[in-house]
């Protein structure tokens, strides 16, 4: 479980996040939604340790990440898998080399065992027989799936996904969403997804937090997101004419 307690972050004079407290449960897909520039990407970077908060604590299973030393943080990071918005695959390495990289770096197992694990992960994301391809030879959806394979190769306890559907067609988005959901439940991972794709939220979101201008505006599950009377959340969720008409008809 990951728990954020009263997190605040500023860059210079600009306040980005203010007093955010959230709890993310294992085995569930936890979604952080919000408009562009609302601070959700910064919140994710704080959680994975790329930035440190000005105030507050980030607890991984009760262990405050902020107060850990460099080596202890490194240990926590080995339990984290992350899928980046642009996949962030290493351009100079093949698919196989990308996925095996964390294993080669940290696993004491032999290369043959590591290779078995890589093949298992690639098969799990539906990309067997792509081992020797380079990222430049892959489509956007395939890159995301390689990113997921690399993120789960070390059996992480926590999976972070930064806008996993950005730049993908609707069908591929659904495939990626389903894959993330399945992996979360299969391995009991605490998954946190940063998104503004409402289809994704409604398809796979278990717990949802809405960030508005740097503070937590709303928190709940997907059953209540459509019926909430929170004005700001409603404006965000029903931003398109299509969804507004759908809501009005269903009422």
């Amino acid at each position: 479980m990951i728990e954020l307690k009263n997190i605040s972050k500023s860059f210079g004079e600009k306040k980005i996040l203010e007093d955010i407290s959230l709890r993310f449960q294992p085995g569930k897909v936890n979604m952080i939604i919000g408009a562009s520039g609302s601070g959700k990407s910064v919140l994710m970077k704080l959680m994975v340790g790329l930035h440190l908060p000005d105030k507050g604590s980030i607890e991984y299973d009760g262990q405050d990440y902020v107060s850990l030393d460099r080596n202890q943080r490194s240990e926590v990071r080995k339990q984290i898998g992350m899928l980046f918005q642009n996949s962030a695959l290493f351009d100079s390495l093949t698919v196989e080399q990308n996925v095996i990289f964390p294993l080669s770096m940290f696993s004491p197992d032999s290369h043959a065992d590591n290779l078995k694990r890589v093949n298992f992960c690639l098969e799990r994301v539906g990309l067997s027989n792509t081992n020797k391809l380079y990222p430049a030879e892959l489509s956007g959806g395939m890159k995301k799936r390689v990113g997921i394979a690399r993120a789960i190769v070390l059996n992480p306890k926590y999976l972070f996904c930064d806008e996993p559907n950005s730049g993908l067609d609707p069908l591929t988005s659904i495939l990626i969403d389903e894959l993330i959901k399945e992996i979360t439940q299969e391995y009991d991972i605490t998954t946190i997804i940063n998104s503004h794709d409402m289809n994704s939220v409604m398809e796979i979101g278990d717990q949802i937090a809405y960030i508005y201008k740097g503070h937590k505006e709303w928190e709940g599950d997907k059953a209540t997101i459509l019926t909430t009377d929170n004005q700001l959340l409603n404006e965000f969720v029903f931003a398109t004419n299509f969804l507004r008409q759908f809501r009005d008809k269903s009422r």
């Binding site: 340790g49 080995k78 980046f84 642009n86 290493f90 990289f101 940290f106 972070f160």
Partner: protein
């Protein structure tokens, strides 16, 4: 003020290179990859510039020494000493700053803007250690080798052109070169080679590592890497000459 900010950040980045590697074998493999990328791939350009450097210096020295009172062997002495002291280490390093410096800065800069460095850090890898230290080490190992090769080829180019054009025979050239040869000059030349190798690789890596933005900024970092490396090479060239000669 801005200079102190960058200098401080540069030193802090260098400090991170001395952390214990997560996996020595991975760093070792990366070192060899970088030795190929930095050293082997620069062989062609170094061979071409070195031969022409020696050849041109021979022709121009002969042009400036048209006098029956000066022995032709002096040309060999001047060309060989110039190649050892200045042409080999400095000119080769300036060319390598353009080739290797821009490559290091753009590679690391692209990794930064495409979040590949973030990916490494989230995995728990010391990104500066893994990305930069093998490059610096590879540069410090291979660039002095390239410079020794450059000096040899520059002298060789001088001998070849001198003999071919009838300026002086190969024997006269070698006689002149041997008469003025000081082993200390080799030591001085190698000191410059190590210093320049460190400057090229570390300054370029620094520029790449702190790139922010997109492809435009990667290009700017690459340009800065070459410009600052060249300026620092010339500055340290002067300081080393002042201190050691």
């Amino acid at each position: 003020m801005r200079f102190f900010f960058h200098f401080g950040r540069y030193l802090l980045l260098l400090k991170q290179l001395f952390k214990r590697p997560e996996n020595y074998r991975m760093y070792w493999d990366e070192l060899f990859r970088q030795m190929v990328a930095i050293g082997v791939s620069s062989l062609g350009i170094v061979i071409i510039i070195s031969v022409f450097m020696g050849a041109v210096t021979t022709v121009q020295t002969a042009y400036q020494l048209i006098s029956g009172l000066v022995a032709k062997t002096v040309i060999g002495a001047i060309v060989s000493d110039s190649s050892i002291l200045e042409l080999g280490p400095t000119i080769t390093s300036l060319v390598l700053a353009g080739k290797i410096g821009s490559s290091i800065a753009s590679e690391i800069g692209t990794m930064r803007v495409t979040e590949q460095i973030d990916a490494l850090e989230i995995m728990g890898v010391n990104a500066p250690g893994y990305l930069i230290s093998p490059k610096i080490l590879a540069a410090v190992i291979t660039i002095p080798m390239l410079i020794v090769l450059s000096i040899t080829l520059s002298i060789g180019g001088g001998i070849f052109v001198g003999d071919l054009t009838g300026i002086l025979s190969a024997q006269q050239f070698i006689e002149g070169a041997r008469s003025s040869f000081l082993p200390y000059n080799i030591f001085f030349s190698l000191t410059k080679a190590f210093t320049f190798a460190f400057i090229i690789s570390s300054v370029s890596a620094y520029q790449g590592y702190y790139t922010s933005g997109g492809s435009l900024e990667v290009g700017q970092s690459s340009t800065k890497a070459v410009v600052y490396s060249c300026i620092l090479i010339l500055l340290s060239d002067y300081l080393l000459a002042q201190l050691m000669l």
